[in-house]
């Protein structure tokens, strides 16, 4: 019943528009994998191809080792939760949840209105379906809602009914297409928690599509970041955050967005920022053009800085209040870079004023470097003695 999903070289185009260009991905059994990316990156199309709602132009899908390519959606043993839930508006919540079971347990004849009741086994099967519906409804705490229609339910309740409809048939995998995007912010955070908990309890494979990197980072075992019909990076949330494989990944993951500064490389592998030689060396032959820094890697530099650190000066343009922490916006004095953002703790802000000149510092080990193509380049351990830069 359980099983991973293997996605190999999937291609898809709608007319002249290429949506997926050779996507390969292995979803492990029981894992929560998010497909995340900006809208139009192909993530929903990929999910629909896995479900069988869309046919790929090339490539293969296998679930639990069995090829799925020519199977209809209902034959694939997957359940799907849609963005706007796609609940049948004319059925009660209970009937909605029962639908997949009715479809699989009753024959076409038995499903017909009126005529179907002639079948002797229909009542027994209906009782079994009702029992399963109640069991799932209990798990999601929606027993009281089973007789209501979707129109009479709140967003969160509809969400739960949609989940129950997916759970009731115990599928090999759950496919979810931005299921939280129609909820208000508070409920979204709550449902995030509930979905993670549900995943843990069911132990089933979840493939979760979202454009919200926070959702992807908080719930997933692994995240596949997609853009332009390709998987840019597949890894754990920590990997994506700490070692982004490209500038695009670095810029997509994390809030506030990572800071980027233009750098140049000399013939000897030395890296220069606005004319300053940084204590970072590149392997010979590799050239970097961009340096990226997470906002939390930048600290206010009060007085003398620690050895080995890099120091920048600028003017504090704005302090943004975010409750416990503050985000400082700094206009740098170096000509090519305009502005960077960094995190401040509440207690550090005391005495700071907008418009004031400040110095900040960061450690070379926190720096991400990218070449002209936007790909990550690893620096070598620094060959020269520690120096200080102002």
């Amino acid at each position: 019943m359980a099983g991973g999903i293997s996605i190999a070289n999937i291609e898809k185009a709608f007319g002249a528009t290429r949506v997926l260009s050779g996507v390969s991905l292995d979803v492990r059994e029981g894992e929560f994998l998010s497909l995340v990316g900006p809208s139009g990156c192909g993530k929903s199309t990929l999910l629909r191809i896995i479900a069988g709602l869309e046919r790929q132009d090339a490539g293969n899908i296998a679930i639990a080792g069995k090829p799925m390519d020519h199977l209809l959606p209902r034959e694939r043993n997957v359940a799907m939760v849609f963005q706007n839930y796609a609940l049948y508006p004319h059925m009660t919540a209970g009937e909605n949840i029962a639908t997949p079971l009715v479809m699989s347990r009753l024959s076409l004849f038995e499903r017909l209105p009126l005529l179907g009741h002639l079948s002797p086994r229909r009542n027994a099967i209906a009782a079994g379906v009702a029992k399963d519906v109640r069991r799932v409804a209990q798990q999601l705490h929606i027993e009281a809602l089973l007789d209501r229609r979707p129109g009479q339910l709140s967003g969160g309740q509809r969400q739960r009914v949609a989940l129950a409809r997916a759970m009731v048939r115990e599928p090999a995998a759950f496919l979810m297409d931005e299921p939280l995007s129609n909820l208000d912010a508070k409920l979204r955070v709550h449902m995030r928690d509930e979905l993670s908990e549900l995943h843990r309890r069911l132990g089933a494979t979840f493939v979760y599509v979202t454009h919200d990197q926070v959702e992807a980072m908080t719930m997933s075992n692994r995240v596949a970041l997609m853009d332009g019909g390709e998987v840019l990076q597949l890894g754990t949330p920590t990997e994506l955050y700490a070692r982004p494989r490209s500038l695009k990944v670095a810029e997509f993951i994390g809030s506030p967005t990572i800071n980027t500064l233009p750098v140049t490389c000399d013939a000897g592998g030395g890296v220069h920022l606005a004319g300053m030689r940084l204590p970072i060396d590149m392997p010979l032959g590799l050239r970097v053009t961009k340096l990226a820094l997470r906002p939390e890697a930048i600290k206010l530099s009060a007085g003398r800085s620690a050895p080995g650190q890099i120091r920048l000066s600028g003017r504090l343009r704005r302090i943004e209040h975010h409750g416990a922490e503050r985000i400082g916006h700094l206009t740098l004095e170096i000509p090519e870079a305009s502005s960077i953002q960094f995190r401040l703790q509440a207690e550090e802000v005391g005495g700071l004023e907008e418009g004031q000149a400040v110095d900040v510092r960061f450690h070379p080990k926190d720096v991400h470097l990218f070449d002209a193509a936007g790909m990550r380049v690893e620096a070598e351990p620094h060959r020269q003695a520690h120096r200080e830069y102002a």
């Binding site: 020519h70 199977l71 209809l72 034959e75 024959s107």
Partner: protein, 293 residues
């Protein structure tokens, strides 16, 4: 259809049967649709064919679709000369235009008042409009006829047009449309010193053009094709609109000149059908508006 593939093991189904099934169902649906289309088109095709056939061929009752001798000129000339077909058409244009202009002049301010103004009698007017929607012309026809007879107005263009000067449907539809117009713009126009009349015609009406166009098509089609009311109030051939003229023509010509009769039918039907073919979307929208309201 579904159970077969469900109860079999899923692995058996492959791309080919799905493709095959698709082609088969496409073929089946096209054949049903083409059969239906043939039924729909049969009268139109036969009308056109008969209008260009020689009387001999018509009286043979032949099933051969193509005329052996082209006889169209004679039939169309007969339809235009022996019967004042163009006169009927002109009457139709006058009546439809007169009705539509009055309907819009009356309905637009009333619909605006119902949508945007507060005044005593608003609820009553709206209730009457909704009730009026359910009452077809055949109901007040009798007293209206008596009224026109007593005032000596039978056999006039006015008699043909008067009962339709007020379209409760126009009021209802335009009220819906005007209701979606933002109040802020109306208030801004008031602050700019526009009178209410100017606001209606210069600010609100231009934005409701699609609804007005749709209603106009609905109204023209309905009155161009109406037989019941002209049949009651008109017995002077010179005033007859197309359907009534066509009926006079048919009564006079039955059994004698089917070719000319079909030519006449073609002439009467052509203006609306050609307009329909030119403005398909708007036309369909206009006539089915009753269904989407």
């Amino acid at each position: 259809m579904t159970t077969a593939s469900e109860s079999l093991t899923p692995a058996i189904s492959s791309a080919r049967p799905i493709q095959f099934r698709k082609v088969l169902s496409g073929l089946l649906s096209h054949s049903v649709l083409i059969l239906g289309a043939a039924f729909i088109l049969l009268p139109f095709i036969w009308m056109l064919l008969t209008s260009v056939r020689s009387p001999d061929e018509i009286f043979e009752g032949s099933l051969w679709p193509w005329p052996r001798n082209f006889y169209g000129a004679e039939h169309y000339a007969a339809a235009l000369q022996q019967v004042p077909m163009l006169g009927f058409m002109l009457n139709g244009v006058i009546v439809c235009a007169g009705i539509l202009i009055m309907q819009l002049l009356v309905a637009i301010p009333a619909a605006y008042a119902l949508a945007k103004l507060r005044f005593p009698g608003r609820g009553l007017l709206f209730a009457l409009v909704v009730a009026g929607l359910a009452i077809p012309i055949q109901v007040p026809a009798l007293p209206l006829y008596m009224g026109l007879a007593f005032t000596g107005l039978l056999n006039t263009y006015f008699a043909m047009m008067f009962p339709f000067f007020l379209s409760v449907f126009a009021i209802f539809l335009l009220r819906q449309s005007f209701k979606t117009f933002p109040d802020e713009i109306i208030e801004a126009a008031r602050l700019d010193g526009m009178s209410e009349m100017e606001i209606v015609w210069r600010v609100v009406v231009p934005s409701a053009r699609p609804a007005i166009a749709a209603f106009s098509i609905f109204s023209i089609v309905a009155h161009w094709n109406d037989l019941y009311w002209p049949l009651i109030v008109i017995n002077d051939t010179a005033l007859a609109p197309p359907p009534l003229g066509m009926m006079f023509f048919a009564d006079a010509e039955v059994g004698t000149n089917y070719g000319a009769l079909m030519a006449g039918a073609t002439i009467v039907t052509a203006p609306l059908v050609l307009t329909f073919l030119a403005l398909r979307r708007r036309f369909i929208q206009g006539i089915t508006m009753t269904g989407i309201k």
